[in-house]
Subunit: 377 residues, 2 copies
């Protein structure tokens, strides 16, 4: 119930009276980030029938750098130059480390012991201090909060923070000119999804008249804190083990839940096998390395109809051993054959005799199958 | 010595009197392709200090579709709707299959038996006929030429053709506004490099005043037909076995060699181990899946100084098993640590006592090393 004033920003101590982010915050974030981060590419994944917003090509390999940098820049504007501490499954820590390096701020990150080595190395690369503690994001969060209190550092939440949400929302602003009809977003704590719905669906003045776009969240079976929270079940539950370590949280955010309860259109639950297959197909067919959470929105995409569908590939930080094992184990079904176009050459003579021989050594053309059919056990 | 008239275009029978492509051809190709292919993204590979032109995100996963589509569109303008046959290590076949599907032209492709399964599947996916023959590009080429003669089909060369070179040159036109000072290009037969030097370094009227850009070719040790040809040694020699199957040709093109002899600035030979390490680092650090030839230009990049260096990631079609094996085998040296920025937080108090404990469990920060140092055997 108590709101604590902290360097000019109202921080959340209990549920009510939190500073809710709004569309204007996302616009301000975009103005702040412009000098540091270029927009990421939008790639047409032809065989998936879906566009991909490639945050895997973002600095530090995930969208998280947007929120972290926005929060540090906002703090600098307020004259707050304290050391920043963050708990993170990995990508928030990397984003913070990069932003802190760029702005010359001291950063300490706490990551769960099971964090991928590539994410840990990424943080160390940018000169931030790394501490490994706990087995899930929630344990590391408690520990980071204690460190902050003991040392007078600033605790930067991974998602439940107005500046962080506004920073992630800049992904949505970059999508707006493309005018998608469906945007698919992976949800862990909900920071990215909250930012994107604010950017694309907010009715505030100055917002794009874009209410028609549907924003659909994606979660993994058994790692669905937000889906439960939106149904009113806010009990903390141990999430299932998943390839998508980046979205593995016990509890959805408070701010994010409020925003999403208002503006999110739908939420799709994806099976682990679908996630694995999508990740492998992304690498082999689209030449995009996505981490588990990064493949999640695209995996959800097959359940959602749309003409200009866009899935956020939220990040690409994956351990070499994990990717190698997936490439060896998962044999994706061949994709749907393309629809025949009118053959302008239909009046051409049929293949000459020599071509009869030719057909005997043809590479067998895969039968037409829908992708994502049940994987063999 | 004999030039054979073929549907309005002069074809090469022996060396002289060939139709040389020029800057205007590249401009025309760009106008033709605009309706079909979007420009590919330019990605800043921060840890490499190099920009990447991601043709791995091109339709069919490589730049080859540009040349093939330009050649088919040019043929359509001339009223030539014959079945097209092509020999290809894989990507040219995929590009042709995609273009033929799009324009409703019949396409037959001949690929060497060792072509990656992913490339073969890519061709079949677009409905083209695939024939596996021979062990190298050169053997498949002879076979494809025989097929064309027997059946009255049009033979579409993979690189030694003015329309194909002009199509590939559109990569260079897309780079021009970025004003790179160095462009690194992988060279097999030389089609991509020839197109790019025409686009960026041609002095013809209407060309960008861009003579200052240096275009540097990259070849693999033992797979250096163009390097030898440019030194005057045009003898056909069996190329070494390499990860970069896409550039594995015995003989450089005739047209391409003429263009490159005039306009290419330099040529770097890359060791196989450097190529392997670069490919793995591209996947893990930049989240880009490149095939062997696609990692070649970036591998050459460390030998070339430049402020706005750009390497062409020419393609991303790599077999799952090859990528899995590389990820398991190759352990890249950690990248250079970033340079310290001025720390605005230097006047902050030193870390409080609690943080002393913290330092004991730090993740070890990798020592500063130059990437690409000799790999362990």
């Amino acid at each position: 119930m108590v709101a604590v004033a902290d360097g000019g920003v109202t921080m959340v101590a209990a549920e009510p009276d939190v500073r809710m982010p709004c569309f204007a915050d996302v616009l301000v974030a975009q103005a702040r980030l412009r000098a540091h981060l270029a927009p990421t590419p939008l790639h047409h994944a032809e065989r998936f029938g879906c566009w991909l917003k490639l945050e895997s090509l973002q600095r530090t390999g995930s969208y998280k750098v947007r929120g972290a940098l926005n929060a540090l820049l906002a703090a600098r504007e307020r004259g707050d130059r304290r050391t920043v501490v963050a708990a993170s499954a990995g990508n928030h820590a990397q984003g913070l480390a990069w932003a802190a390096h760029r702005l010359g701020v001291q950063a300490i990150t706490v990551m769960p012991k099971c964090a991928p080595a590539t994410k840990i190395a990424g943080v160390a690369h940018w000169g931030a201090t790394v501490r490994l503690h706990g087995d899930s994001y929630d344990e590391t969060r408690t520990f980071a909060a204690d460190l902050a209190t003991q040392n007078g550092w600033r605790l930067l939440p991974a998602f439940d923070d107005a500046d962080v949400i506004a920073g992630q929302g800049t992904v949505g602003l970059e999508l707006a000119p493309f005018a998608p009809d469906v945007v698919l977003v992976p949800i862990g704590g909900g920071g990215l999804a909250a930012g994107i719905v604010l950017a694309l669906k907010s009715m505030r003045e100055g917002a794009p008249a874009n209410r028609r776009v549907r924003v659909v969240g994606a979660q993994v079976e058994g790692v669905d804190a937000m889906a439960r929270a939106l149904r009113g079940d806010v009990a903390s539950r141990e999430p299932a083990i998943t390839l998508a370590d980046g979205v593995r949280v016990k509890e959805a955010g408070v701010l994010t839940r409020r925003v999403l309860a208002d503006l999110l259109d739908d939420l799709v639950i994806v099976r682990e096998a679908e996630l694995r297959e999508t990740l492998v197909r992304l690498a082999l067919e689209e030449h995009v390395v996505a981490e588990g959470a990064g493949a999640l929105a695209l995996a959800a995409g097959r359940r959602v109809a749309g003409r200009r569908k866009c899935a956020i590939v939220s990040g690409g930080n994956l351990d070499a051993s994990v990717l190698a094992a997936l490439l060896a184990d998962v044999r994706p079904r061949p994709p749907r054959r393309p629809r025949r176009r009118h053959r302008e050459g239909d009046d051409e003579p049929a293949l000459a005799p020599a071509s009869t021989r030719l057909h005997r050594t043809l590479h067998p053309i895969p039968a037409q199958r829908t992708p994502f059919e049940e994987l063999p056990a």
